[in-house]
Amino acid sequence: MEATSTCPSYSARDYKSEVKPVWCPGCGDYSVLGSITKALAELSIPPESVALVSGIGCSSRLPAYTNVFGFHGVHGRALPIATGIKVSRPELTVIASGGDGDGFSIGGNHFMHACRRNVDMTYIVMDNEVYGMTKGQASPTTAPDWEKSKLTPQGTGINPFHPLVIALAAGANFIARGFSGDQNGTAQLITEAIRHPGFSFVQLLSPCVTFRPEQRDWKDMVHPAAVDPTDDPARAARRLMTDDGFNVGVLYRGSRKPFQPERQASVDSVADLEKEFVL
């Protein structure tokens, strides 16, 4: 009998839907959508075997623009939904995506605990340091002196959240930073993140040209990480805390065992559990 390898090949287009994005012209998220679909094609994962989960915000609109199984939930709760999917269906490839407000402010507790729990999934945050969907308010990653928001006209006066340092401290197993303007480089980061076991966190600098037009300059500010990724958390911490925030590439690779409870039945039926009640 002739054995033929039937590993189907996919193109990025196979992962895109026909739904037209709500994003503004020039938004970095278009390119991130391209990077995600390219990464899935590179990995040759059947679209029906991928679950892509998001919360609320501009970037959280992303699942509907793909042709995988998507879930567009409520604000800040993408990670718990993704956790429920992966733990109950470990054979699926699970990706959570969203923005900096969704992930680091309203969803901050889930971010910390998802890093700590280390379920085998990938979390992609499109960070533009602003709430875009609500028309331009400061987010947890906004600089303290950004004065363009009607809500905080004198600036927030508080230092920004450092998502990569928090991710490392909380136990994320893979940490990378990318730039939406480099679609192929970002696709490569996402590919590596999906391949890496455990919780992989990818921060993508994705400019908001509407409320933060100065972010157009990011393309001139990003630069590849000068050194190879480390598996030493102490070294990674020092690097993450001292870099300029535009250092892109894989920055940390851990080797912690992913969280995946056994799903092996030891009884034949529910009736076997009832014996404990019998007097």
Binding site: F69, F71, H72, R77, G84, R89, M112, L273, V278, L279
Partner: protein, 572 residues
């Protein structure tokens, strides 16, 4: 003097073994063919402090307390006085205490009950390794007439792992207590047990809810601890694992409800359990389950509210938030067990309905059901399962996840089904699931989500209807127990009245209730809430015939059968 029901409270300081004695008495009564029911009360201390095991033994099934207690046994008197309001007694009652057990509380003395001494400490010292609580167990067993074999059998089995010495000491203590009881003032003895054809179960309402969940097919649970819902989760943790299911402890209630939404979206029937404050945190995502049509079940074990309220005491005051807490027009299921044993059926039914109708179901249990233990006839598995309508065959065209069917229920694909990819959405959407703010899409999807619930045939389970007559008592949940008992007394006194205990709180069943109340000219509404939440709910959704009275009171004290009986008798 024999009685069909005898009520006993064991009380004492923490570590005195009050709960152990209560559990053993319950098990012994169950083995000897009597029914038993037990609630527990404790001080605010995490460990130690005072505790009380409140028991009722009966010849017939019993899942609520009587009007008063026949016997109060205090192993010591430290702070037992603070339980006084929870231990009503008449002058016929009997208070047993140790003269060396500390100062006799004046609140207990004020009850005017008979009293007698049992020198627990002295007696225990005379037995090698003797235990005062086992002497108390023996004394109560002797007083009410439980057979020695049944008590000693339970003691032996319970202490099997503690070694020969502990077992012998406890047996000797029980025997000493039984011997001492012969010289105590008489109290009602239990009438002979009516023959049971099958062995009874000892189970709590929270365990029963867990059993109902797995019988219904729940295989994923996300958990965040909260009193008094925690034991549902603690029972499920090892038992789900045995079934090949998974329980994940979440970081908060926002995570737990979203984890179960995720697991259910992935095709695994999913549930969480919580209590009032947790339910409040979950309401936003309950709306997500409704809008995205993702089946989930949330067991809410009610406690005194608002805010942190009274975590260890029961109240039926989460009815409003369960019904109306969701923003937007969000039809969903609210199912209420009306007895400890019914926690199994109602939870299983809710799981079945949630999956059948692809929506969120809230099970409204409460502390008095959940944390009480009873011996019950084994509840048969009614066979209700979480079965979901799924698309069949290959997808011919672009999959319409939210297709507007006649029933309102649309075939739901799960990840892995090739060609059926879609995005579930909490944003209003069209039939494909694509976000839409168009008026036509909004009204079509609102209609569909309402229709699938309203048009479903819920059969006879929507309410328990018993008896006849032109007076009806309308109630729900845990107050059904005392109402049933009040109605038995009312009928025994020559009255005629019917019970309607509504299990399906939402969606409402106005036609069915109208039929159940046909010929009724007086309606008594009974509930345990300060704000008469159930009465207001009935007024909003149902036509109530004739004159209506509402008997409502907040927790923490349980509503007693006699209070309801007086309402009926005085109205006749």
């Amino acid at each position: 003097m024999t009685a069909r029901s005898v009520s006993i409270t064991f009380a004492g300081s923490g570590g005195a073994g009050v709960m152990t004695a209560g559990n053993m008495l319950l098990d012994a009564a169950g083995r000897a063919g009597w029914y038993a029911y037990m609630t527990r009360s404790s001080g605010a201390q995490i460990r130690g402090g005072e505790a009380a095991a409140m028991m009722r033994l009966s010849t017939s099934p019993v899942q609520s307390h009587d009007d008063h207690f026949d016997v109060l046994v205090a192993i010591d008197w430290q702070n037992v006085g603070r339980f006084s309001a929870e231990i009503p007694m008449t002058t016929d009652g009997l208070v047993l205490g140790d003269p060396d057990g500390g100062e006799f509380p004046e609140q207990i003395g004020a009850k005017g009950a008979r009293s007698a001494d049992i020198p627990f400490k002295k007696m225990a010292k005379e037995i090698e390794g003797g235990r005062p609580n086992m002497i108390a167990l023996g004394a109560v067993a002797g007083l009410v007439g439980l057979p020695e074999d049944a008590v000693l059998g339970v003691v032996r089995d319970s202490l099997a792992k503690k070694g020969e010495a502990a077992r012998t000491a406890s047996e000797a203590s029980v025997r000493a207590g039984m011997a001492f009881a012969a010289g105590l003032p008489a109290c009602p003895r239990l009438a002979a047990a009516e023959g049971q054809s099958e062995r009874l179960w000892s189970i709590t309402g929270n365990e029963a809810a867990g059993l109902g969940a797995v019988r219904g097919g729940i295989r994923f649970v996300a958990a965040y601890p909260i009193t008094p819902g925690t034991e549902v989760l603690e029972w499920l943790a090892p038992n789900l694992a045995k079934l090949g299911g998974v329980l994940v402890q979440a970081e908060d209630e926002l995570a737990s409800i979203n984890q179960i939404i995720g697991a259910s979206y992935a095709g695994v029937p999913s549930l969480t359990a919580t209590s009032g404050p947790g339910l409040a945190l979950m309401t936003e995502s309950l709306g997500l389950a409704v809008a995205s049509e993702t089946p989930i079940t949330v067991v809410n074990v009610m406690r005194g509210g608002p805010s942190t309220g009274i975590p260890v005491k029961s109240e039926q005051s989460d009815l409003n938030i369960a019904l109306y807490g969701l923003h937007g027009d969000a039809p969903h299921l609210v199912v209420a067990p009306n007895s400890l044993a019914d926690c199994a059926f109602s939870t299983q039914w809710a799981v079945h309905l949630a999956d059948s109708l692809q929506t969120a179901a809230i099970v409204l249990s409460d502390q008095s059901l959940g944390q009480s233990r009873a011996t019950i006839a084994p509840p048969a598995d009614p066979g209700l399962r979480a079965i979901r309508l799924m698309p069949e065959g290959e997808a011919a065209e672009r999959y319409r996840r939210y297709t507007n069917t006649a029933s309102g229920v649309s075939p739901m694909a799960v990840p892995g089904m090739k060609g059926y990819q879609y995005t579930a959405d909490g944003l209003e959407h069209n039939e494909y699931g694509t976000p839409s703010s168009a008026a036509a899409d909004h009204s079509a999807q609102l209609d569909k989500r309402l229709r699938k619930l309203a048009a479903h045939d819920y059969g006879q389970h929507w309410a328990d209807i018993e008896g006849d007559g032109d007076i009806a008592v309308l109630t729900w949940g845990s107050t059904t127990g005392p109402v049933r008992e009040a109605l038995e007394r009312f009928r025994a006194s020559g009255g005629r009245a019917r019970l309607v205990s509504i299990r399906l709180i939402s969606p409402v069943r106005p036609e069915q209730l109208a039929a159940a109340l046909a010929g009724v000219s007086r309606v008594l509404v009974v509930e345990q809430s300060h704000g008469a939440q159930f009465h207001r709910y009935l007024r909003a959704h149902y036509d109530l015939p004739g004159s209506v009275r509402a008997f409502h009171r907040p927790g923490p004290l349980p509503i007693r059968p006699n209070e309801i009986f007086r309402q009926l008798a005085d109205w006749s």
